[in-house]
Symmetry: C2
Subunit: 318 residues, 2 copies
Amino acid sequence: MLGRKLTGRLVGEGRLGNADVRALTLADVLEPAAYPHFRGEITRKIVDLSVPGTALELVASRPDVIFHLAAVVSGEAEADFSKGYRTNLDGTRLLFEAIRQTGANDSYHPRVIFASSIAVFGEPLPDVISDNFVCTPLTSYGTQKAICELLLADYSRRGFFDGIGMRLPTICIRPGLPNRAASGFFSSILREPLVGLEAVLPVSDDVRHWFASPRAGVGFLVHAACIDLTSLGTRRTLSLPGVSATVGDQLAALRRIGGDKALRLIRREPDETIKRIVENWPRTLDPKRALALGFRAESSFDEIIRAHIEDELGGVVA
Amino acid sequence: MLGRKLTGRLVGEGRLGNADVRALTLADVLEPAAYPHFRGEITRKIVDLSVPGTALELVASRPDVIFHLAAVVSGEAEADFSKGYRTNLDGTRLLFEAIRQTGANDSYHPRVIFASSIAVFGEPLPDVISDNFVCTPLTSYGTQKAICELLLADYSRRGFFDGIGMRLPTICIRPGLPNRAASGFFSSILREPLVGLEAVLPVSDDVRHWFASPRAGVGFLVHAACIDLTSLGTRRTLSLPGVSATVGDQLAALRRIGGDKALRLIRREPDETIKRIVENWPRTLDPKRALALGFRAESSFDEIIRAHIEDELGGVVA
C-alpha cells in the first residue's frame, strides 16, 4: 500500500529531493501497477526476493535509491513460521547481500530505505518508549524486522550501502480492504463510517496506540531518501513520529468530522484475542532522533482523518 | 575454552542439577578432548554447524540440554564478513531449526543455553547499562549475537525449545594463549606476570570494563541449565553479573597478590587501534534480572585472580 502511494508520488513529481527520477524498477510478488504517464524508464517485475539470484538481478541496474517495504504481515508470519522467515528475513538478507556483491569491486553505494515497524517492541513496555529502549518483539514478524534492523546497521557500518531503517507507526487510515493484521480495526472504525458503512470495534475506548497517516508514511520514505545520514552514526534505525491516541480519541475526532451519524455506525463487538494482542503494543514513543532529523507526522487525529478525506475520498464526507 | 571447562565440570561431577549426566555429545570444529574417565556415554564430533544437515544429525539423539557456545570471535568475524555470518548466524539458526524440526511431531522441547556477549551493546552507552537498554552492536560479531538472541526468543515463544541467552562479561583471566579478540590484553596483563612473564598493556589505566572469571562463566552455564525459566517470560536473554573494573583496578589487585615484581613485568605500549575499539565497550551493567534469578559472579578482581591461581596454577604464584 505504501509502496503504491510512494510510486504515485515519485511518478507524479518526477523528482526525489534534488534529483530527477529517471528510472523506476517496481518489484512485488503481485504484478505492480502500470504508470503510462511516467516520462522516465519503468520496469515492473513479479519477484520472490527469497529465491536466490532474484535480488542480484534486481540490483544489476544499480539503482541509486532502494526502498524495501516488504513483506509478509504479522498475522501471516505468525500463522506460517517458515514463510515469514523466508520472506521477511531471508528475502531482506539476500537483497542486502546482492548490494554488497554488486559493489564488491567498485564504489556502488546506494541509499537503502528499510521499512521496519514498532512491532519490534514488546511488553513489558514503559508508557513512553525512548530511542534507547530495547527491542523485544512478541511476534515472529517483529522479530524478523528487528533482525533486519541489525543487518541494515552492520551492512551500513561496513560500507556496503547507506542504510536507514524506520519504525513506522501503525498506518491509519489504511485505504482499501482489511489485510490480515490485527491492527485492521484502527482503520476500519474510521474508514467505513466516513462512507456510511458499519464497522466493528473489538476493543475498549481506552486502548492507546501510535499512528501516522499513509500521507505521512510516504513523506517519511521520501525524506529518508533525501537527507544526509551522517548524523545517524552507527544507529541506522529510527523510531518515527506519530500521534498517540486512544480509540476514544479516534472516535471523538470521527464525531467532530463525520458527526453523530458516523459514530452510530460503530458496532461494539469485544474480541478477547484482538484485545490481548493490542494490549501488548506500544502506546507512545519519544522519537527524539527522528524529530531532530526533520521527520514529521500529523499532530492530531483530526488531521489524520482530513488527510484521508483529501487523499482517498476526493475531499468529500458521505 | 568455556566449553572445555564446562565439559570438565560435567564429567567431574557427573550431575547437572538434579539429573545424572548419562550421555554427552561434544561437537566442535576442532577435535574435542577425550574424557576416558567419564562413566556415561560420550560422543565426540568434528563438525561445521553451518553445513546443512549437520545440526539435524547432532540433535537426532534428542539431548535434554544443549549448550551453544560457538563460534567465530570478534576479530575474525570482522576480518571475514561472510565467514562470521555463516558460522555465527547461519550455524545457530540451523541448530535452532534442527531442534524445531526434530520436535515437529512430538513433545521434544530441550533446554537451549546460548552464549551471547556484551558486544551486543555499542556506543553511545550510558555509564551503567540497564536490562532495558537497546542493542546496537558495533561489530559484525556483536550483530550476529544480537540476531541470535532475537531468534532464541522467538523460537522459545513459539514453543520449539526452552531457550536462555546470556550476555557473558569479558572472561578474565582466560587461560592459555591469546586468541584474536581485541580484549586479549585484559587477561594477559594478569596471566603472564603471575608466571613471571612480561605482558604488553596497550591502553591507559582508566579504561573500565566488565569481567567475570572462567569459573563464574561455567557457573553461569550450569545455573542456566538447571533453573526454572518461567519468570523470564518472553525476554529470553539476560545480561549477566560481573565485576566492573578499570585497568588500574586490575593492576592494583595484581600487586596485592603478585607483588611489585609482578607489576614490573607490565610493559606499556599504547596502541591506538585497540584503544579505539575498547573505548566503545560497556563499562558497567546493572543485571537486575539475572541477579533475581540467582546468577552470581565474583565481587572483586582479587577474587578473579585467586580463582585463576586455584584453577590454573595449582594454587601457586611464581
